[in-house]
């Protein structure tokens, strides 16, 4: 059957095809005219959501036929310092694969980034009017973590005045609280034992046994009473079993008393532990400085270390956010439009290409200025993707130095291909001009001069270990000059500055390590430095005697407040133990005595019965012989 052409003409409108073609051409022309602008806006918006600060691009040039995209004048603002750029790049040229673009995937076969500079000034603020809420929430979380970390203080004020022990409150001493609690338990145990003693009162059972014993004692075995003997013996043995049961109950009570009291009385180790806690508490009230090196280093550099670690933690967590592990579908807000945005799901399992991939990126970096780090560097990035699990190759970053007096080596691997993140980074820079480190405890700063920097980071799953190590032979103290020969009041600011000045002067090399350890959501801060040990030794040498005397006074005060409570506890325990022992002893003695009487009577009756039985047998034999 052939189709009627007139019917087809009624259904189709051939002229509409040319109108549609015209429309498609029109859309194509519009896209051609505005594609560069859209790429520019896309980079700016994506970059802003990634960094939490403004990203500006001077111009974008898209050449779809050649698969090339070129960005010039890229500036990425620093979210912490809006008037500074995190970095800027003169030009970025990317070779884009066309096939993945048709799947809405951006795959850059090769990227060349030229003229990267760090920390440059901005003419306008880089703060966002409406920052990404997720980035803001992350910063708030990290700020909360930083606020929760207690950086120890190195205050020498307590050495200058009289040590006032009035602040030590007995209610706050762990030993006193323990003794009070234990006393309450002793009272409660005393009541409980009185009740149990009453419950196993042996008097009725002893009276009953006594009655049986007396019946046994009064019994005289004759031929007429012989028939009562089995009943009496049965009663006697039953009473004996009752006494045995009573003895077991009394013994169990005795054991229970001893065990419970042993649990209440503090051991020597427990008392020592409580005393240590009380001393730490009392010391904290008096701000006596610890002279141990592990405490001095965090006190000297803790605040500075926290300020360095905050951004590092932020970027570590941001890497997780934008390079998530695993292949489960992810969701993100849909495109901005007049209609609701909805949620766009990324189904990554089985995807031929990741949503974003840089197969190879070559970056030319330059650090301006006359510093030791100034110079030209080259970096290579491979397999950088937002869907690591779909690409199965870990991201690697390598940086080498092309020119300049210092050396730099960086190797990083971000393995997000499995469900468990495995990241590692090792950066070694030699001959770098290190920054000055503020030491607020002594009102100055420590210039580290030119030295070496090593950054190492390792992450497996949620566990992170991050270290930033600086070492330098070129250190000096920056602050108000102090006449180190003058006699200064111990603990005064000048005295403190002088002390650090002398410690630094005697130090040939400084090594400072700050880092993070533990869960990425709440890691602990690590601060170590040989300067801490040197300052601690100087402090011990110069103020050791004062601190020792102050500590002795604190120790004596703590002991004076705690001792009466412990003594009272020990007295109460002893009183209870003695009382219960006496009660239990008297019960036990009474039961033992009754048992002895009963056993003797039973034995006597059994013996008498056997003798009587023998004599009866002899009499019957004699009688029978006579009859015979």
């Amino acid at each position: 059957m052939t189709e009627n052409p007139s019917t087809r003409r009624r259904v189709l409108r051939p002229s509409g095809l040319s109108v549609f073609a015209g429309l498609v051409v029109f859309v194509g022309v519009i896209w051609w005219l505005y594609a560069d602008r859209w790429v520019e806006r896309g980079v700016e918006n994506t970059g802003a959501s990634l960094t939490g600060a403004r990203v500006d691009v001077d111009a974008a040039d898209l050449r779809p036929t050649e698969g090339i995209v070129r960005l010039t004048g890229l500036q990425v603002a620093n979210p912490d310092q809006p008037m500074k750029n995190l970095f800027e790049a003169e030009s970025i040229v990317g070779q884009v694969r066309i096939d993945p673009l048709l799947q809405k995937k951006v795959v850059l076969e090769r990227v060349e980034v030229l003229g990267v500079r760090f920390g440059t000034d901005r003419s306008t603020s880089g703060a966002l009017e409406n920052p990404d809420p997720a980035a803001g929430a992350l910063w708030r979380e990290i700020d909360a973590w930083a606020d929760a970390i207690e950086v120890p203080e190195l205050s020498l004020d307590a050495l200058t005045g009289v040590v006032r022990t009035e602040a030590i409150s007995a209610d706050s001493l762990a030993t006193v609280r323990f003794a009070r609690d234990a006393l309450l338990r002793v009272d409660s145990l005393g009541d409980s034992w009185d009740e149990r003693l009453e419950r196993i009162d042996p008097r009725p059972r002893i009276d009953s046994v006594r009655a049986v014993v007396e019946r046994l004692e009064q019994f005289r075995l004759t031929p007429t009473t012989a028939l009562q003997l089995p009943g009496l013996l049965r009663d006697g043995r039953s009473s004996l079993e009752s006494l045995t049961s009573l003895q077991r109950e009394v013994a169990a009570l005795d054991d229970s008393v001893r065990t419970a009291l042993a649990g209440v009385v503090p051991t020597a180790e427990r008392l020592a532990e409580l005393r240590t806690r009380d001393l730490a508490y009392a010391r904290s009230l008096l701000d006596l400085p610890s002279l141990e090196a592990p405490s001095v280093s965090p006190a000297l550099f803790g605040g500075t270390a926290l300020s360095w670690m905050r951004p590092m933690l932020y970027w570590a967590r941001t890497a997780e956010r934008f390079l998530p592990p695993g292949l489960d579908p992810r969701n993100r807000p849909g495109p901005r439009r007049a209609r609701a945005e909805g949620t766009t799901y990324d189904f990554r399992r089985g995807a031929e290409w990741p949503a974003f991939l840089v197969e190879q990126g070559d970056v030319t970096l330059s650090i301006d200025g006359r510093g030791a780090a100034a110079g030209a560097y080259t970096a290579t990035v491979r397999d950088l993707t937002t869907t690591p699990a779909a690409w199965s190759e870990p991201t690697t970053i390598l940086i080498g130095r092309e020119a300049g007096p210092s050396s730099i080596q960086l190797a990083a691997s971000l393995d997000h291909t499995g469900d468990v993140l495995r990241d590692s980074l090792e950066l070694v820079v030699r001959g770098l001009e290190l920054p000055a480190v503020s030491v607020s405890a002594f009102g100055g700063s420590l210039s580290l001069g030119v030295g070496d920097q090593r950054v190492s980071a390792r992450r497996v799953g949620d566990e992170i270990s991050l270290r930033l190590e600086w070492s330098s032979d070129d250190i000096s103290w920056q602050g108000a000059g102090v006449d180190t020969t003058a006699s200064l009041a111990v603990g005064s600011a000048d005295w403190g500055r002088g002390l650090v000045q002398r410690a630094v002067a005697g130090l040939e090399r400084i090594e400072l390590t700050v880092g993070l350890d533990g869960s990425i959501s709440s890691p602990s801060l690590v601060v170590e430095s040989n300067l801490g040990g040197t300052v601690a030794a100087s402090l011990r040498r110069e103020v050791g005697r004062e601190i020792e005397a102050a500590e002795n006074r604190v120790r004596a005060e703590v002991a004076a407040q705690a001792a009466p409570h412990v003594e009272r506890l020990e007295g109460e325990v002893e009183r209870l133990r003695a009382g219960v022992a006496e009660e239990v002893g008297s019960r036990r003695a009474e039961v033992e005595a009754m048992r002895a009487r009963l056993e003797a009577q039973i034995e006597a009756l059994v013996g008498g019965a056997q003798t009587e039985a023998k004599s009866s047998t002899t009499d019957r034999r004699s009688a029978s012989r006579t009859q015979w």
Binding site: F20, A340, G342, T344, Y345, D346
Partner: protein
């Protein structure tokens, strides 16, 4: 006000045009897709192609678009919920979404967005009732109201597309 006038013009053109009630209804059903789903989407280019290539009523499609655009905005929460149920909560459909997500050109249409997929499914489900409802309504209109008032001055004016010009003459100075 401009849009109200344009709407009345479209309404009149669609209902009074020479197309059959079926052509007008098909136009309205296809135009409903433009109104119910996000307009700047790849699938709507295809819909426009269908409207132009098939002999359906273009004024009818315009009318469908205008009528269903506010409906689309109002139903966005429903479309989002429907899209979420289909995309995230139905494991049986997962292979289909993966295939669409990775399909060249189709992936550019954002097929895994809850609003897009929810509204397309909503339109597909509603297209047949819209078509038959519109066809019956147009037939009834032409047999009754249009027959009665076809020579009325107002109808003639609208048919001649003069109403907007008249409105411009009398609108208050801005």
């Amino acid at each position: 006000m401009y849009w109200i006038v344009k709407f009345i013009q479209s309404l009149a053109k669609a209902l009074n045009s020479e197309g059959t009630p079926g052509q007008v209804a098909a136009g309205i059903a296809l135009g409903a897709c433009l109104g119910l789903t996000p307009l700047v989407s790849l699938h709507n280019l295809l819909i426009v192609g269908l409207i132009l290539f098939f002999r359906v009523s273009v004024p009818g499609a315009t009318l469908g678009w205008m009528v269903f655009t506010p409906v689309g905005f109002a139903l966005d929460p429903v479309f989002h919920a429907l899209g979420t149920a289909l995309l995230a909560e139905s494991s049986a459909l997962r292979p289909l979404w993966v295939a669409l997500y990775n399909m060249p050109v189709v992936a550019l249409g954002n097929p895994t967005n809850t609003i897009v997929i929810g509204s397309i499914v909503g339109w597909v489900v509603g297209a047949v009732p819209i078509f038959f409802g519109a066809r019956a309504a147009v037939a009834w209109y032409r047999a009754t109201i249009y027959e009665r008032y076809r020579d009325a001055r107002l109808f003639r004016a609208i048919r001649a597309s003069k109403l907007y010009g008249a409105y411009r003459l009398f609108r208050p100075p801005s």
